[in-house]
Symmetry: C2
Subunit: 391 residues, 2 copies
């Protein structure tokens, strides 16, 4: 195991009706002038924004609203939010939504107190200061409610890039599973896939002797395999939603990723898909991961065999561990299809003829020098082959 | 799953040589006049106290030392520490040791800023304010490095009782697995048993539909089953120590215990043993847990069968789940013996004739009304029968 630091100071408030505590929590964490940042009309129509606003009013807090965050959130709205926060002297940002809303809120929080262009943080600069952020989560997926990360798409060039820093970890996150019960099955499944991807990205490591984090990742994946289909089949299943919601946070606050190298190639390869086609990130990952795993499997057959046995319940083929490894990947692919996720470019709405452009954006965009690295270092030819496996 | 809040703001610094960061971490978390609190001579002889002191000196921090914490830490030294902290205007307490030292430090931290008797907190009053505490952990066991809990034994009556509050959560905890490599096998095994007990106390729940936390608990127990014997057999095995150290923290910061009822009857029943015989807490638990589990197993046979299958690798006996449940308990007992833990009163140094006194202290001590409750509510007769199962 490698040396590490771990810090997850977010205060989590979990369960039914907890969004009504938003006002008292903002106050507890020092906010007085609040930006409520949210996405489309559903948060308004469902009455959620009203309930949150009422709880702020009850604490005599001033607030401003900025809606309109789209999936794969864009830089344009971030600039707008920064301007609004500066003008109105906002001192707390309350994200009401899923990962896109939270990530956009984090970008605004960092950008408001930074003199330069906020995109600097998405080009490699670490975030050291930001306005405090709180969240009311409505989608289990991105794990942004407990992470120091944010992903934004720059409209000029459609580059999708991440930024990070403890300063943008949410001060509190309100996790009410009932708020996720109105999600359609497709979005629920995309969220499940994203959570599973966060776990696999950590599972694919080159660090030896990491039993504790291996076992924790497996535990969370087993949870998703049990609860995912139940939530997709019956959107009102509170317990399935609740188990997924906590697993989604644990999958990405890095308690199961400490002390080990991680992969993140699947995320990087997928980011170009959702940037170009504006597909759901989870749907893109469903197509990407089996292709990546198949391509890199020989780098560490026994790791994939371990996943097959411990996560997917395969019988170990001791004479042919590679067969077991492949079986695990196939079971994962079948699982993703069974919850309604796409299995190839066609089902995703992606086009084979775009592969050169995808590879170029992936390996040459935003300062990259022809490769991406993680579990395995991949060059442009590797990435092209992986995209072709998805066709 | 039940509603809950979860808050674990401790900054963890994990790995080799990390104790040298103690000074900069104390400074970062606002300390200027520090009490270094520790146990016996081994922390001094090994040079650890010197290294920690040097790192404080390098940051120009004033410090005072108070050693002498014993296993099952006593109230007497806590009063002494409180007096010292008040006299010297100490503003930060640095615990260098295992759970006993950390728990004693937490008691001093709470008592120093409280006008009344610190024992009030150990009689049910919640801790709301305390001096900040940091830790340099030397034994993987109690999980106090990431918990809001403290257990102290009151010398007047030898009552062992716990107190709790977010104010005593460590601001930082330094986890260097090499510091645990000098522990003798017996103490290593007692620590392993304590960690497994923290997991089982959470596993025995009456809450339904808690897959995510069930799976996480199982993951941490599987880690202990793999790494425990390796650490006992070869005390210098860094990787085994490292995996156990992170598992020990995760087992008790409650990330795997949220949203579910918990047991803690085994801990309560054991506390009377270590209070009376001054045995290692883990050794007491090794004798206590199989007896408790055997006694309460029929309350939820399928839960014990699940543990047997998922944790202990038993084949499910579908015609007779109780047989599977029993087999899981027996495998747990055998595992504990295999790492050198006692299996009965005689090996622990406890006496059958003390059972009435043990039961009385347990069920009538410190305001209790004749029962203890958890997974199952147990009265004096139940507790006597459980103690007799240990003979």
């Amino acid at each position: 195991m490698e040396n590490f630091t771990f810090y997850s100071p977010t205060y989590f408030v979990f369960g039914r009706d907890t969004e009504n505590q938003a006002g008292s929590l903002v106050k507890r964490f020092g906010g007085s002038r609040v930006l409520i940042h949210y996405g489309g009309g559903s948060a308004v129509r469902s009455g959620l924004i009203d309930r949150v606003s009422s709880s702020l009013r009850a604490e005599c807090l001033d607030f401003f609203c900025l809606g309109g965050v789209k999936p794969n959130p864009r830089s344009g709205l971030v600039y707008e939010g920064i301007e609004l926060c500066r003008r109105e002297k906002v001192d707390f940002i309350l994200a009401v939504g899923g990962g896109s809303v939270i990530d956009s809120s984090k970008a605004i929080a960092a950008g408001t107190v930074y003199e330069g262009d906020f995109w600097d943080f998405y080009s490699g600069k670490r975030i050291e200061q930001a306005l405090p952020v709180g969240t009311v989560l409505t989608i289990s997926a991105a794990g942004s409610e407990g992470s120091p990360d944010s992903v934004i798409t720059k409209e000029d060039g459609m580059f999708k890039r991440g930024a990070s820093g403890d300063a943008i970890r949410p001060r509190f996150s309100i996790l009410n599973p009932t708020l996720t019960q109105t999600l359609p099955p497709y979005q629920t499944a995309a969220g499940i896939t994203d959570i599973m991807a966060h776990l696999y990205e950590r599972y694919l490591t080159n660090t030896k002797e990491v039993e504790v984090t291996d076992r924790m990742i497996e535990a969370l994946l087993l949870t998703m395999i049990h609860e995912g289909p139940r939530a997709v089949a019956d959107s009102g299943n509170y317990d399935a939603r609740a188990n997924i919601m906590w697993a989604g946070m644990m999958a990405h606050n890095n308690s199961c990723g400490v002390g080990r190298s991680q992969d993140w190639n699947s995320h990087n390869i997928e980011h170009e898909l959702s940037a170009l086609y504006d597909c759901a990130h989870g749907a893109g990952l469903a197509v990407t991961m089996p292709a990546v795993f198949t391509y890199v499997m020989k780098h560490d057959v026994m790791r994939f065999a371990q996943a097959a046995v411990r996560i997917w319940g395969c019988q170990m083929d001791f004479a042919n561990p590679e067969a077991t490894a492949r079986e695990g990947i196939e079971r994962f692919r079948s699982f993703l299809c069974s919850i309604g996720m796409p299995r190839n470019f066609a089902e995703l709405g992606a086009k084979e003829e775009d592969i050169p452009a995808l590879v170029n954006a992936l390996c040459r965009g935003d300062g990259r020098q022809g490769t991406i690295s993680g579990f395995v270092t991949l060059d442009e030819e590797d990435c092209a082959k992986i995209y072709r496996l998805m066709v």
